[in-house]
Structure formats: structure tokens, C-alpha cells
Point group: C2
Chain length 123, copies 2
DNA sequence: GGCACCTGTCAAAGATTTCTGACACATCTC
DNA sequence: GAGATGTGTCAGAAATCTTTGACAGGTGCC
């Protein structure tokens, strides 16, 4: 049996997943793809959305590991990029969120090497 | 015994939860509050964040039902707003997301059938 | 009174994210 | 060739989210 995230996703991973799913359009995209895999242009027509925009949303979902895209070549020689929903499974509880938060890499990139956050205690 | 969302949260609810948690600062806030409940000003000092900003983040978390704030009056007469993390528990799978997406009441969509996309009734 | 805390709000800046209309390329059919 | 399909990209609006500083009030203590 394949492994699913057992308990503790990294902060960055969880953040990517949550912010990817925290968007009505992307939720609908997942729903549409779960019903049947599809390629970009057809999916764009199906849910009434511009191709460039859908492309962006799909990239966000794929970056979060929620969908996967494979470039397939049809018998007519046209290449279409089909997207499938991955069987992801995340549990959201205070403890898991807290654990993830502890492993968050500073979002603001202050320095190249130090990795030190440049937040000082004022006052 | 209070019930936790067993399986199918509404689209709006899940959307609120995901977009609330899909932010590094808010994840850290949940983590800090889970370690120990706190009131706004102290929490602001603790995580090095302005009060107005923290206030906004807490409102977002509370609107999603992830934390609750209670205005308590100490014996010294000062009122402090203490926040607690609620024991939320959400499961994130393709099916659950798809189900939630189906009940989304949001979008500039034209309209389908009884369609009447409106904001929630303020209380 | 003045100081140190607490609470809340508001209006702007600042930074992201979202969205749109181009553009580029390829293949197949007419 | 033109026209349909598919792929991807880009720059720039448009909308939204984040952040800041100033303001309003409240209480207790020196």
C-alpha cells in the first residue's frame, strides 16, 4: 500500500497545500478533475475559465502535490496535458498545525546564507 | 460531548478554514495559542507583531472557528481578551474537497436554477 | 494629573494574488 | 496556405490581502 502523509507534514508543505486549496476556483478544479481527468483546454471550457488563468491554478495545485499533469500524445498526434487528482490525505488539527508552524522557513528572505530572520524586538 | 465536523464541511466553511490556515503568521499564532492561551497585547509582544495586525489575523481565525476569544476582566479591573484554540479537526481528501466545492456559494457565476449568489445574511 | 497598561477602530500605504489579452510554438484537416 | 485544435509564456491591469501608524476609548497606580 502506498504511503500517505502519516502525521507531520513540514510547515512549507502544509502551507502550500492549504493556500492552494483555500481558493474557490481551485477547489472546483479539484472537484472537476476528480470526476474525470481532463486536459487543460477542455477543462478550461468546462468550468468557464481562461486558459492562462487555469494554467496558473493548475501549477499551484501541482506544486502542492494535489494534482499531477502528464503530457500525453493522442492518436491524432496532438499533445494534451492531462491532469489527475492525487490521493492526498491531510489531517488538520491544532497539534498538527502547531508542529508544522515550528518548521516554517522564514518567508522573507533577508540574507543569502545566514537564513536569519531580520525581525528585531523593538521597544 | 461536542461534535466535531465528521465528514462533510460546507464549502464556505472549509474555504474559510483553509484560507485562514494558509498563512504562515496565522499558523504561528495557532501554535503560540496552543502552547498557552494569551491575550492580544501579550501575544503581539510574544511573536513580534503589531496589535492592529494581530487583531486582524485573530479575527480571521475566529471567523473560521479555529480560535475563540473571550473578554475577561481581571481583579485589577483591566479587561483582556484571551484567545483559545478550539479543538478543530478537519480531514483533507479529494472527495471531501469535491463535496465542499459543490456547496460553494460564491463566485461571479451567472446563475443556475435557484441561483442566487449572495453574501451571507449578516446577523 | 500623568503614566502604563488594556481594548478597539480607521485610512492609507505596501505586497501578493488573481485575471486578461496578447504572443510564441506545434500538429492535423481542408 | 488558412483554420481548427492543442501546448506554453509574458506583461500589465485589477482585485485582494497584508502591514503600518494614528486615533478613539477604558482601567488602575504613583
Amino acid at each position: 500500500m502506498p504511503e500517505v502523509p502519516p502525521e507531520a507534514p513540514t510547515g512549507d508543505e502544509l502551507l502550500r497545500v492549504l493556500s492552494a486549496l483555500g481558493n474557490p476556483h481551485r477547489m472546483r478544479i479539484v472537484a472537476a478533475l476528480l470526476e474525470s481527468r481532463n486536459y487543460v483546454s477542455a477543462l478550461a471550457r468546462l468550468i468557464g475559465m481562461g486558459r492562462p488563468l487555469l494554467h496558473m491554478h493548475l501549477q499551484r495545485l501541482e506544486a502542492a502535490g494535489l494534482v499531477v499533469g502528464t503530457l500525453e500524445v493522442g492518436e491524432d498526434g496532438k499533445s494534451m496535458k492531462y491532469y489527475d487528482v492525487t490521493p492526498f490525505c491531510y489531517e488538520l488539527t491544532p497539534r498538527i498545525v502547531a508542529q508544522a508552524a515550528a518548521t516554517l522557513t522564514e518567508t522573507t528572505e533577508p540574507d543569502r546564507a545566514t537564513g536569519r530572520a531580520a525581525k528585531e524586538e523593538a521597544k
